[in-house]
Symmetry: C2
């Protein structure tokens, strides 16, 4: 917890925690975490994009990856990402202290970018490790006009070598990530930790309701084609659709009315829709239903509708084998172990392309995340550490 | 119509029509309209705030006011305001051409500010005439930091004298304003003109729905307190309430969600409400009903609600006597004459404090106003002119 505090003080902004990809704050964070890794008996390196990697055990051969990311959102909490990296280092320390030998090496990785704040493109770190980094991203510019290639160069990496920078996939045994839940389920279930079943697929769409602007005082109700009324029906249809389907979450997070004046009937309203469910067919059916509802209500109101798909990612299931072992380990420290989908994306979803993955969720206060109020109990961190260490021992016992 | 065109070309912006209070464009507009007034045989003066007044007939004694405003909104149409002033001048020309003598003087007035664009404070011109100008307004600043007092001085007026600048109310017989309807009723009824029964009272309120922001992917539906869902219910409750009450219009024109990000559940949503009806009790009951609905739905969703009244103006009924004469005059040119409330505010509502008022509405295309597409048929303007002239003769015959 002291390390969480120390890392939480490393920020590129005064008064609040913000640590973006390849920033001077990231340099200081990597240096601090590298020192902890060395203290824990690891050999430390940084790859071409700035991922920090500490290796414990044999310098060659099979390796199990543990970790999370070291970057943050703007005005972040201290646990998102940092907890997973620091917890992994603590596990290594515990193994070393108890003189536990594993039949494979451990690598603790602190990814350089998961949040995608600086270049509006998330998972830069894990994509390099997975070999799915898109070279075109190097031309992206940050808010100050600095290209990603330049930022990586200044940080000490070599953009030209990113493609070959990934680890040797044939040696990978798996990837385990501990992370705060960022949701309220564990708190509601009164559980310190939970095991992630899958990283839920996500669709993001944009709906534009086009009616007719008009004078708020002179246009009778029967003559109106009020785009905000249509959008309001839509928001409630989305909520109803999600409430009727177990495990589905659907959110209208953004809304923009035009002309957005108190004395003008809204002519156009644009909203975003975010839909997530761990079952791809369930999610697709829900989206189809919502689009149907939108069409139907626009027809009834004589309005036009433009629907745009912004992003659609499939569900990434966690490894059954690793997840079963993680549940067994958790069962030693908790009377009841639940599996739950992750509604948020994680590096684990990227690494799942190359190796079996598993995730351990740690209860966080009120489900609050991406906010300075992010908070985790010391006791829960202790449970998570014990579970992770026992899990490593279980993997080792199965390996032999 | 040529005059409407000519006046419509006088703007402070290229490509679009914008003529704000005391602007150089207003100076050119006043000069042009003054020339037309003189051609029509009027003596012309400008009062201390820049209202342009042309007098026809005896220099002393009773006077009937006719007119409207010469300022515009940004990116305006050519008819709102201008039509009423130009139509009044044409009536004077017609009376002069037909050698009709009236037992009172006519004053055609072009108000310097009705829209309130420059100082966010409408009816500056008519408030000076009515003696209700608020001296505190002189300290208001425009977007460039120019105080109203300074703007008036540059235009040629004397801010210190505004209080005494009003006309002699004891000499006033009434005020008649012709204006485009700015709504679709006359078009739907297939009528060139209509007579205004009252200028509907208006209430503007702000509602803030306070729920709880949260991660769109990790917060189950049952754990949410989504402020946008509450606001959506509110928008539909407002629409339902207005639809159930004849003549009521209620509009949610502005909406602002926070944090307004596609992957965050809206924590707070603020909306404006605009309610108008010509009966004050009906309007008040509707507002009470809407506030009740808002409270009820916030209670059901465990949310907080903040309601703020921004503005509340009572209905201003038009003079029964003048309105009856205007209807008689309209009946000569139209088989059917309807009375309709004005949902928009007008200078007539300000002048009603000091003299009987009446208003003639002229059909406009699609009810569109405050937009370059504002359009009125030549034939309808001809009808309006004939009605206004006949009305003046009727007033004169009653006077004698």
């Amino acid at each position: 917890m002291r390390r969480i505090e120390a890392l939480g003080r490393i920020s590129e902004e005064r008064q609040r925690l913000t640590r973006t990809f390849c920033s001077p704050a990231m340099r200081r964070a990597n240096n601090l975490v590298a020192a902890w890794m060395r203290q824990a008996g690891m050999t430390v390196r940084e790859d071409e994009i700035g991922n920090l990697i500490g290796r414990y055990g044999r310098p060659r051969g099979k390796v199990l990856l543990l970790g999370s990311h070291l970057d943050t959102v703007r005005d972040a909490g201290r646990f998102d990402g940092a907890l997973g990296v620091i917890l992994a280092i603590s596990c290594v320390e515990q193994l070393r202290r108890s003189n536990t030998r594993l039949p494979f090496a451990l690598e603790v990785i602190g990814f350089a970018d998961e949040e995608g704040v600086r270049y509006q493109s998330p998972y830069l770190g894990s994509r390099v490790v997975a070999g799915t980094f898109a070279r075109a991203d190097l031309r992206r510019k940050d808010a100050n006009g600095v290209t990603m290639a330049e930022a990586i160069r200044r940080f000490g990496g070599r953009p030209a070598r990113l493609k070959q920078a990934g680890c040797d996939h044939t040696q990978l045994l798996g990837y385990i990530e501990a992370h705060i839940e960022q949701g309220p389920v564990l708190e509601q279930e009164d559980l310190a930790v939970g095991v992630v079943s899958a990283i839920a697929g996500q669709a993001r769409l944009r709906f534009r309701f086009i009616g007719q602007a008009g004078h708020a005082g002179t246009t009778p109700m029967r003559s109106r084609r009020d785009a905000l009324c249509a959008a309001a029906e839509f928001v409630l249809a989305v909520e109803g659709c999600a409430r009727r389907r177990a495990g589905l979450v659907a959110t209208v997070g953004q809304i923009q009315a035009e002309p957005n004046a108190s004395n003008v009937i809204p002519g156009t309203v644009t909203v975003t829709l975010d839909v997530r469910h761990q079952s791809d067919p369930v999610r697709r059916r829900a989206i189809a239903q919502i689009c149907n509802d939108a069409q139907r209500l626009c027809l009834a109101r004589k309005m036009n509708l433009v629907v745009e798909v912004i992003q659609a990612t499939a569900t990434v299931p966690c490894s059954r084998r690793l997840t079963a072992l993680l549940k067994r380990a958790a069962g030693k420290h908790q009377a009841r172990v639940i599996g739950l989908p992750s509604g948020a994306g994680h590096d684990a979803a990227v690494l799942a392309k190359i190796t079996p993955t598993a995730m351990l969720f740690v209860r966080c206060k009120g489900g609050i995340s991406h906010h300075p109020a992010e908070s985790v109990k010391v006791q829960d961190v202790r449970v998570a550490m014990a579970v992770m260490t026992d899990f490593l021992v279980l993997v080792a016992s199965e390996y032999e």
